[in-house]
Symmetry: C2
Subunit: 110 residues, 2 copies
Amino acid sequence: MEMINAIEALGALAQETRLETFRTLVRAHSPNAEEAGLAAGGLAAQLGVAAPTLSFHLKELTRAGLVSARRDGRSIIYTANLGGMRALADYLLEDCCQGACAPSLEETET
Amino acid sequence: MEMINAIEALGALAQETRLETFRTLVRAHSPNAEEAGLAAGGLAAQLGVAAPTLSFHLKELTRAGLVSARRDGRSIIYTANLGGMRALADYLLEDCCQGACAPSLEETET
DNA sequence: ATAACATTTCTATAATTATCTAAATATGGA
DNA sequence: TCCATATTTAGATAATTATAGAAATGTTAT
């Protein structure tokens, strides 16, 4: 991952509505792609934001590679892109921190 | 880590000058605290930004818990707070992704 | 005490972002 | 075809952020 992509992903997540959106989509995640994700309208209702506002944020998350969209009838279903999040975490730990970040407690307790 | 802290850290890193600042400080990191870090002036010169601009960004990074400062004579030495970065990465992987992110290739290659 | 240095705070400004209402686009069904 | 539904795009506005020059603060040496 390049720095410019990392900045886009970081910026996408650095906003309450968008971070909540991503977390909500993670909860709605499923290994089989068919049933994973949530429709834009359902998301907006669940998060309590106006449809155009959520649309703006979803575009931001999409641009950053953190969510994907597919059409299903009249709805557009958004899904969390877990690989994008993993790539960001890897960038922070490996490239940015150069592997020098001490591992978290959970990982050393075995 | 709480969501609000994660948002601050994400926002702090989602800006080119600040991300470069953090990366530069990681390179200047040392296990013994005495010799770790860089002075604000040296950083500003290295990054090619005006002193007040860097000061603004350093405050932002400090507020987010990603850098620490100590005075040494007339200089103020900034150091990367690797624990803060680790806490952010953990938040993204554990809390936000709920551990569902596939591990990166490097980690599965053993 | 004064001067030189290092950094921050103040002030102003330009640029970006988040939000809403209204209008446009796309889909599915009667 | 016409209508209702789902979502996005356009346009306007308020709020936030990044930046730099000028002034203020704190430190060291003479």
